[in-house]
Subunit: 220 residues, 2 copies
């Protein structure tokens, strides 16, 4: 289940006006002993921390093809992505990846290692994408997908991909597959100013090599 | 900066009573189209999602020794840990690890690859610990540390370690170092019922091999 306000990075509390403990007003200020602004209650002085969210998902493999989902929800309605979504309280990242893969693609997989960790500081998200083995061909669109299909590399709809972290993950995946060895890749994706959307990508193992990426759609 | 209520897993909103948008009461219920309980506003119907937090830190290496911090704050006051803390909005996980390493140990490091990802679903946390190279010996205790010291393997104070995810990370680190190859290890640590604190550990690459771990202290 994806909340659109989270998906576009606002977070549920980003515009906090009132204290969730006592209903008094809050003020954005730097608490004593801290070094960054927080929403602090004017009455009970509770500090309301806000932290990044994890998006967990997988590359589900079947022979030389992988599973993509066509989004039935905003943002990026109608564009393609890997099955992935927000990790919930009380679950592990692998459990979140399995759950999202079933919810969005009705697919059962066995998870392999972590393949990419992408930081998206402009929307306070961390993507964790695992490699996975599709267990059977009984998959299909869940409520949040218009279609779910297996794609071989040459057929990937690069011009219709929804999210930069997923595009980068797939590029790294096919590059590693060609070399016969899958690593764990850590990188940052930062949105640049203006429209259409452009991103700057930097990998932890080679921070000097900054690349640029555009996504096909400029919808919110 | 560590908030104790987060460190013990309550989260700032775990006991939410009022809507942070309109100050009306909230009810814990399953929203339409969702499948798990959320705090939902009785008046404006805002859904207040709560998600796991990331703790980022590093194993800072200097020759055959690594940097440990003795905690000057609760929980686990006086026990030892790696420099690590909550990732903030607007930063990347590597930036969070660098910042926490400076805040807690006044140490400057160059980050290497991701070494462990531990899920702690009972407290809604994901630990991301990187390997890192200490750049010089000008380190010392920050506000949240009583002491910061370099330890060789034989001197690690295993009986005085603060957190199970850090103990497991160090065990894996020394095992990998002995084999001459560092991997990226993904695992779950789940707290068992009762006191003293006991944990069950399961690694993604060998889920059948479940181990048990106790931590030395049973303070909150």
């Amino acid at each position: 289940m994806i909340d659109t306000s989270q998906a576009i990075g606002l977070g549920s509390n980003a515009t906090m006006k009132f204290c969730s403990s006592c209903a008094s007003t809050v003020t954005l200020r730097i608490p004593a002993g801290d070094n960054r602004p927080r929403f602090v209650c004017d009455s009970c002085h509770t500090i309301h921390y806000q932290n990044p969210n994890i998006v967990a998902g997988c590359i589900a493999e079947w022979e030389d093809r992988i599973l993509l989902c066509k989004r039935a929800i905003e943002p990026r309605y109608g564009l393609w992505t890997l099955p992935a979504g927000f990790m919930e309280n009380g679950e592990t990242a692998p459990e979140a990846a399995l759950r999202e893969t079933y919810e969005e693609a009705r697919a059962r997989v066995q998870l392999n290692s972590l393949f990419t960790l992408f930081n998206l500081p402009h929307i306070n998200q961390v993507y964790l994408i695992f490699r996975a083995r599709l267990l059977d061909l009984e998959f299909g669109p869940g409520d949040e997908s218009l279609a779910v299909e297996l794609y071989e590399e040459s057929a990937i709809p690069w011009e219709k991909m929804a999210f930069p972290a997923i595009m980068e993950t797939l590029k790294l995946y096919f590059a590693d597959r060609a070399e016969g060895h899958f690593g764990t890749h850590i990188g940052d994706i930062e949105r640049q100013q203006g429209e259409p959307r452009r991103y700057r990508i930097r990998m932890l193992d080679n921070p000097a090599a900054i690349r640029n990426l555009s996504t096909p759609d400029s919808s919110p």
